[in-house]
Amino acid sequence: MTARRSGWLARFEPVTLLWIALIAILLFLVAFPLGKLLVVSFETRGTGEFTLMNYVSAYGRSRYVDALVNSLLLGLLSATMSVVMAVPMAWAVSRTDMPFKGLTWAVVLGAFILPPYLSAIGWILLAGPNSGFLNIAWRAITGLEDPLFNVYSFAGLALVIALNAFPLVFIFVKSALDLVSSEMEDAANILGAGTWTAMRKVSLPLVWPAIMAGFIIVFLEAIALFGTPAIIGIPARINVVTTQLWQFFEYPVRVEVAAAYAMPLLLITAGMIVVQKLMLSRKGYVSQTGKGGERRPIKLGPWRWVAFAWCAAVGLMAVIAPLFVLLQASFAKAWGRGLAWDNLTLANYRLLIFEHDMAMTSIWNTIWFSASAASIAVVLALLVAYIVNRRLVPFGEALGFMAMAPFVIPGIVMAIGFYAAYASPPFALYGTAVIIILAFAARFLPIAYANSSSAIRAVHPEMEEAARILGSGRLHAIWMITAPLVRKSLLGGWLIVFIVASRELSAAIFLVGPRTRTMSVLLYDLSEAGNFEVLAAFGGLLLVVTMVFVGIGMKLVGRDFMLRRN
C-alpha cells in the first residue's frame, strides 16, 4: 500500500490523453469544416491562389444581393408573425384561466414536430392560387375571380414559416411568464391598474427579453431554412440566400462562391446569438425570478373564449388543416377532388413501399444516419461534459466552447463547410454515409452537449467519490454510479437529436449522393416532380417514423421531453 513515486509519464494521466483525443475530434468536426469554408472562399478554384474574386462573383449580381435582402425581410416578417401568434398563446396558457390548455400544448408540440417542408406542402394544397381548397371555397362562396390567399407569395412564404416556427417563441415566453408571480400584477392592481393595464405595463415588459430572444431565434431559423423557401419560394420566383446557395451547387458546383456567399449568414447568426445572450442576462430583468410568489390564474370571464379561439385558430392553421389535407391527399387518387369514397386509394402508399426504388432505402438511411449521428453526438457530448464539469483538466472550458460552437452555425453553412472540407480527396467522402452522419453529429452536438451537461451537473461529484473511497477505480465508479444516474436524461437527449436529425433537410441536401438520400431529401425530390398524392403519402410515412420515436421518448423520458427549454 505505498504510493508510486512517479515521473512525468505517470503524471500523464489517461484523462489527458482523452482530452487530447476529444480536442482532435472536435477540431475535425467543427473547426476544420468552418476553417476550410473560410479558406475556400478566398481561393481560386484548382490553383488555390489567394483571390477576392469569389466575393465579387457572389455579390456582383443584383439578383444575388436581392436574395440576401429577401432573406432578411423574410426573417423579420416571419419572426414578427410568430411573436404575434405565440405571445398571446403563451400568456393565456401561463397566466389565465383559459379552457383546454392541454389542447394548446398539443398544438404547440404538433407544430414543433411537423417538419417545415411538410407544412409547406400542406399549405400549397390549402392555398395554391388555382386549386387550393381555401381558394376554391372562397370562389364558390363569393363568386369572385381572385384567390383569397396565394401561398406562392412573400407573405405566404413568411406565414408558412411562422406557423411552423412559433413554438420557439411560445416556449421562451411561457417559461418567462411562469416566473412572474401574481404579486407583481397585484402590486399594479392595488395602484389602480386593471387587468389589461397590468398585463401591458407589468407582465409583458418583464418578459420582453424572452420575446426578443424568441424573435431572434425565429429570425435565424427563417434565414437559414431551405425546405420551405425551396418548395414555395422557387415556384413563386422569390430567391433567398439558401435557395441561391443551392443554385451555386448546381452543375458546375461552385463551392468557393457558395462559401463566400454564405459568410453573411454565418456572421449574422453568430452576431445575433451574442446579442440574444446579452439580452437574456441583462440585470434589470433579474426580478422576474423573484422567488416564491403565489401564482393565481387571471380570471378572464367571457374573454377566455376569445383567448381560446385565438389558440384554436393558430392550431388550425399551423397543424390541423395542413395535416388534414396532407393525409387526405395521401389517400386520394386525385387530391383536388377532395374527400369522396371513390377518390380513396392506398395506391400512393403501395407505390412508395413496394415499388419505389428509393423510398424504403431513404427511410432506412434516415433511421441509421440519425441514430449514428445521435450516438456520436451524445457520447462525445457526455465525455466533454464530464471533463468540463468535473474540472479534470485545465482549460476544459475550451472543449465545452467547441462543443457549443455549432449552435451559431446555420445548418446550411455547416453543410457547405463539410462539403468543402471532406467531399474531395484526400477524404473523398462525397456521397458516403459517413459525411452525412458526421455533419449531423456536428450540427446537433450543442443540443447533446446542453443535455449531457445538465445531466452530469445533476449528479453530485460526491456520489462518485463515495464509490472511490470504498475501493472502486475512477472508471468503475463512473460505470457503476454516474452512468446509471444519467442514463435517462441521456436517452432523452439522444432521442431529441435523433428526431431533429431525421427531419433535417438543409444540411442533408448538400451532402447526399444518389444512394444516400434521406427521407427529407427524397421528399424534396418528389416535390419537384409535382405528384402531390405520392408526395403526401411519403410525408405521411415520415411523420409515422417521427411519431414512433417521439412516442418512445414520451414513454421513457416524460411527456414534455421535447419542449423543455435548455
Binding site: 500500500m1 456520489m463 467519490e465 472511490r468 473511497i469 475501493g471 472502486s472 475512477r474
Partner: protein, 355 residues
C-alpha cells in the same frame, strides 16, 4: 484501525495556501475533529487524507507508509478508508442494502458473508427494517444512518467525515452526534471528523484540532481547549471570552490597575515581558455587590448592559478608571440593575495567557 500521521501538509491554489504546513498525528482508534470556521481548509485537508486532492508539500502516512506526498499519491480506492460526505452521497439507484453492500462486493467477499454483514450493520444503525427501501423514500436522518453503515461495514483503516450533520435539523443533529460517538466506542475506528460546530466536536472527539486560515492553531482534548486556550483565535472560537490587553513585568501580569502572579496563570511564559493578552471566561468572573474578602484580584465597575438568556444573566461591566468592558455571567437569581456598582473577582487559575 491505524495510525495516521500528517507532516507539513500544504495545499496551495495559486498563491493561496488554503492548507498551510499542518502537523497532526492520530493514534490507533483515536477520534480527532478538525474544527474551524467555514473556508479555513478543513475539507481540503480531509480530501487530501482521502486521496482526492494532491498535496503541494508535506506527507501523509498510514501505519508508517507514505500514502500522500507531492507527485506520489495513492488513489482513494487503494487506501482502505471510508468517508461520509456532506451530501451523504447515497446512491439513489440502489437500495439501502445495495448501498451498504457496495464496498464489501468490491472486496470480493462471498455473497452470503455480504448479506450477513450488511444485515448486522443495519441493525447496529437501527435501519434493518428499511434494507429494501430506495434512498428517495428515506428521511435525512435515515440517509445519514445508511451513510454511516456503508462507511463502517468495510472496517476501514480510517473513517473520514465531512460535516456529516450540517444538513440535519437541530434535534436530529444532537441525536446523531451521540450515535456517531457510540459507533466509535463500539468499533474503535481511527476517525477524522470535520465540523464548524464546536459543540459537535466537543461531544464526539477525543481531541480537537482547531484550524484557522489553513493552519492548526491548537490540538487538545475538548476541556483543555476551553480552559487552556493557547491562541487568541482558539480562546475566542471555543466558548466566549474576554480578551484583555495586559502587561507582563517582573513575573507579574497586570491589567486595569490590578496585578497577579504570572505563575498562577496557566500558559503564561514568565520569561516573556511586555504587552500580552489574557483570556478571561465570563463565568470565571464573580460579581459582588460589596468588596469581597479574600486575596483574589478585584476590579470595581458599573453594570453597563445586561441580557437575560434564561440559564444565565449576561452582564457587561465597565471597569472604573479604564476603558475595559468585561462580560460576566451570573445565575438567574443574581440580579444587578444597569448602572449598579459591582465588584468583579478574578480567578487566575481560570485565566489563560494567549498569543
Amino acid at each position: 484501525m491505524s495510525r495516521l500521521q500528517i507532516q507539513g501538509l500544504t495545499k496551495a491554489y495559486g498563491p493561496n495556501r488554503v492548507v498551510d504546513s499542518i502537523e497532526l498525528t492520530l493514534q490507533e482508534g483515536e477520534f480527532v475533529s478538525l474544527l474551524g470556521p467555514s473556508g479555513c481548509g478543513k475539507t481540503t485537508t480531509l480530501r487530501m487524507i482521502a486521496g482526492f486532492v494532491d498535496p503541494n508539500e508535506g506527507s501523509i502516512s498510514l501505519d508508517g507508509q507514505v500514502i500522500s506526498a507531492p507527485g506520489a499519491v495513492l488513489p482513494p480506492e487503494k487506501r482502505g478508508m471510508s468517508m461520509i460526505f456532506q451530501s451523504y452521497a447515497i446512491w439513489p439507484n440502489m437500495t439501502v442494502a445495495e448501498n451498504v453492500g457496495f464496498g464489501l462486493k468490491l472486496r470480493k467477499l462471498p455473497g452470503e458473508e455480504i448479506r450477513k454483514r450488511v444485515a448486522e450493520i443495519l441493525e447496529v444503525v437501527q435501519m434493518g427494517h428499511l434494507a429494501a427501501r430506495y434512498p428517495a423514500e428515506l428521511s435525512g436522518g435515515q440517509q445519514q444512518r445508511v451513510a454511516l453503515a456503508r462507511a463502517i461495514v468495510v472496517k476501514p483503516a480510517v473513517l473520514l467525515l465531512d460535516e456529516p450533520l450540517s444538513n440535519l435539523d437541530a434535534n436530529l443533529r444532537e441525536e446523531m452526534r451521540f450515535e456517531i460517538r457510540r459507533l466509535h466506542d463500539e468499533f474503535r475506528i481511527t476517525t477524522v471528523y470535520v465540523t464548524h460546530d464546536q459543540s459537535e466536536a466537543m461531544a464526539t472527539s477525543d481531541r480537537i484540532a482547531v484550524m484557522n486560515a489553513g493552519r492548526i492553531e491548537q490540538v487538545d482534548a475538548p476541556h483543555m481547549l476551553y480552559t487552556r486556550p493557547r491562541t487568541r483565535f482558539v480562546a475566542g472560537f471555543i466558548g466566549r471570552t474576554n480578551l484583555l490587553p495586559a502587561q507582563l513585568r517582573n513575573g507579574e501580569i497586570g491589567f486595569g490597575g490590578i496585578a497577579m502572579q504570572a505563575g498562577q496563570v496557566p500558559g503564561s511564559d514568565t520569561a516573556a515581558a511586555g504587552d500580552i493578552l489574557v483570556s478571561v471566561r465570563p463565568q470565571s468572573i464573580g460579581l459582588h455587590r460589596a468588596p469581597p474578602g479574600g486575596g483574589a484580584p478585584v476590579l470595581e465597575g458599573v453594570v453597563a448592559q445586561r441580557t437575560f438568556l434564561g440559564e444565565t444573566w449576561d452582564y457587561v461591566v465597565r471597569a472604573d478608571g479604564s476603558d475595559l468592558r468585561l462580560r460576566a455571567t451570573a445565575p438567574p437569581l443574581q440580579i444587578h440593575d444597569v448602572g449598579e456598582r459591582v465588584w468583579m473577582e478574578f480567578d487566575p487559575q481560570q485565566m489563560a495567557m494567549v498569543v
